[in-house]
């Protein structure tokens, strides 16, 4: 099943959140189409970047892949098993192999729990270790993420942001997963601390052969860490390619605008750079525009763009784009 090296296969994935009215009788009056038909593969050992602006659905996509939200439609296949058909114990057993690192290292650790209990939780849930064995494993995990193993009985507030994110990483590693979704793991951290965490993630990938889905809005960091990159806009993927190809030859007008908006720490170059400044804001995912969703802000849009949804096509060398024009 996974002969071609595909670990995670996402097909036509949709996640709609209902909007209801009424107090006693709840009526559905609409839906937030957070993720609206995304398809991509994640290969074993790679880091796939998922980028886009706030509200584009990248976090929801990540959570739906892990079945933290049940998809409205579509399939997620993990190592040949369709996750959307799994329930209860079967799903839990599968979850051992996929973990998540969250954005906010302050909110994602229970402040009343000791580090030992936080990192030991997956071991307990999946019945992987108990007693002395569990304590030893927690200490080993702390060593792996370069924290002092003697910290086991401390509480999250005793750590800095970067250290807390390491605790989050240790927790994700506890069940020996193959696949980790990193949901904006560094955006809450200071610049000088970001590099520490990114380097750690890279080393762990090498050491344990991990596969990452790296969700982020920092396009510079994504270029550094990822193998391939997918660009999301309003619940859909508009472009996907190998990273250098995507950054050096972006095809979709949204990708072009997004990349040109990222400032470069090089003053003479930065003054010369031409910027595609987009007008207006992202439309509401409750009522996305017809046709191409980017057509309302696209600098090169034509009539057909707002009528017909653009097809997902290969422009060569595994570079996919959904655009009528380029």
């Amino acid at each position: 099943m996974s002969s071609n090296g595909v670990l995670v296969q996402v097909k036509g994935l949709k996640k709609h959140f209902p909007i209801t009215r009424g107090i006693l009788v709840q009526r559905q009056v609409g839906a937030v189409k957070a993720v609206d038909g995304v398809t991509f593969d994640i290969y074993r050992g790679e880091t796939l970047g998922l980028v886009g602006e706030s509200g584009c659905g990248k976090t929801t996509a990540g959570r739906t892949i892990l079945q933290l939200y049940r998809p409205t439609a579509g399939q997620v296949t993990f190592d040949g098993t369709d996750l959307s058909t799994l329930k209860g114990e079967d799903l839990r057993r599968m979850r051992q192999r996929m973990q998540m690192i969250f954005q906010d290292p302050y909110a994602s650790l229970n402040s009343r729990w000791t580090i030992s209990r936080i990192i030991g939780e997956p071991l307990r849930v999946h019945k992987l270790a108990s007693g002395q064995e569990q304590i030893e494993r927690v200490q080993e995990l702390l060593r792996i993420v370069r924290l002092n193993p003697r910290f086991v009985n401390r509480y999250p507030h005793e750590f800095s942001g970067g250290q807390r994110q390491r605790i989050g990483v240790a927790r994700a590693l506890a069940s020996n997963p193959e696949f980790i979704i990193c949901d904006e793991p560094i955006s809450a951290l200071d610049v000088s601390i970001q590099a520490q965490v990114v380097n750690l993630l890279e080393e762990l990938q090498e050491q344990f052969g991990l596969t990452y889905l790296f969700i982020a809005h920092d396009l510079s960091m994504v270029r550094h860490i990822c193998t391939r990159v997918a660009v999301m806009y309003l619940g859909q993927i508009v472009e996907l390619a190998e990273k250098d190809e995507l950054y050096d030859h972006p095809v979709h007008p949204y990708t072009q605008a997004l990349l040109s908006a990222v400032p470069v720490p090089d003053p003479p170059l930065e003054r010369k750079r031409k910027r595609v400044v987009l007008e207006g804001d992202v439309p509401s995912p409750v009522d996305p525009p017809p046709g191409c969703r980017f057509s309302t802000r696209c600098p090169v849009a034509e009539e057909m763009c707002s009528e017909e949804e653009p097809p997902w096509r290969d422009v060569g060398g595994g570079h996919f784009v959904a655009c009528h024009k380029n």
């Binding site: 602006e53 396009l219 400032p263 910027r275």
Partner: protein, 327 residues
């Protein structure tokens, strides 16, 4: 000619239950008319406190400006009483904050909030203030400005709110606009809009801008001169091109090396700065960066270096010459 703004030995502390926080430790800088100055540093480096001190917005207690001068057109702002300061704030020096939602009043319309300073500071009548406000909203690029006058802050998106904040700051045509991380909460495409807007407005109105950020990328295209802060000290300053091309302080150097770039793939590991920024409750006697510095020598842990010129318009506070690795 005297500079527009001259900050001299500014020292701000906070008395807390845990002890005295040394937030800003004797910093000096000048801002010329129409200039764009960038202040760069990580959280807790004192960059926000330094400009809040200039604006007289430090809550006392627990805060206290214990030394220094802030000369605006030769007049020391720190000696002014609240009422006199009211005439400076908003009118001469205006400020835009990081989070546009918490800095706008949620129960007043946008129009009312912008027109208020026009009425209070400039003594305009209701009608004239209304006209000006719509004008300002148009100037900062808010579509259908006349209709949106009666809207409340929650009816605007993050980027639009920041535009409203800028409109409000520009209301009395200040000669200095201080922007404290105005784009940190925004997406990159919206950030680009705001940066372009401020650049255009500066060209049009000729005001000086102080832009505070932790993002070395944003500053690169915006500022003429840059100040790098660490633990409440200025560690390096100079022309933006020089700082980026030849950083002379180990902190600046390390910070620039730790940044990945969107326009190229290096294939190398990111350089890291080990350890954490110092605790401002008890600064070590030496250089505050010494415990994390790869160039550290014995003198660094004993004596804190002061800013010394190392070239034209270039100063750095370091005992070691990073280009030769010698003291």
């Amino acid at each position: 000619m005297a500079p527009l703004l001259k900050v001299q030995d500014l020292t701000t502390r906070f008395r807390t239950l845990d002890g005295v926080v040394h937030a800003v430790n004797g910093i000096s800088y000048v801002l010329e008319e129409g200039e764009a100055l960038g202040i760069v540093g990580e959280s807790g480096c004192g960059k926000s406190v330094s400009v809040l001190s200039v604006m007289g917005l430090i809550p006392e207690p627990p805060g206290e400006i214990i030394a220094g001068q802030v000369l605006y057109q030769g007049q020391d702002l720190l000696k002014l009483d609240d009422e006199q300061m009211e005439h400076i704030r908003g009118r001469e020096i205006a400020m835009v904050f990081q989070d546009p939602m918490t800095s706008l009043n949620p129960v007043l319309t946008i129009g009312r909030q912008i027109s208020e300073p026009l009425i209070v500071h400039l003594g305009m009548g209701q009608e004239e203030a209304h006209r000006w406000t719509v004008d300002l909203l148009e100037k900062v690029g808010i579509p259908q400005a006349a209709d949106r006058y009666r809207d409340y802050p929650h009816q605007f998106s993050g980027g639009m709110r920041q535009r409203v904040m800028i409109a409000m700051a520009l209301a009395c045509a200040p000669s200095i606009l201080i922007a404290d991380e105005p784009t940190t909460a925004l997406d990159v495409t919206i950030q680009a809009q705001i940066v372009e807007l401020v650049k255009d407005l500066r060209d049009q109105l000729g005001m000086a801008v102080i832009w505070i950020t932790h993002d070395l990328g944003v500053i690169a295209g915006l500022a003429e001169r840059v100040i790098v802060m660490y633990a409440g000290f200025i560690v390096e300053r100079g022309h933006v091109d020089d700082i980026y091309a030849n950083p002379r302080h180990p902190y600046t150097l390390a910070l620039l090396k730790s940044l990945p770039r969107v326009d190229r793939t290096s294939g190398e590991k990111l350089a890291t700065i080990d350890g954490l920024p110092p605790d401002l409750l008890g600064l070590p006697p030496g250089c505050p960066f010494a415990p994390r510095c790869e160039y550290v020598v014995e003198r660094c842990v004993q004596e804190n270096p002061v800013l010394e010129p190392v070239g034209p318009n270039r100063e750095v506070a370091c005992w070691v010459d990073v280009t030769t690795r010698r003291e």
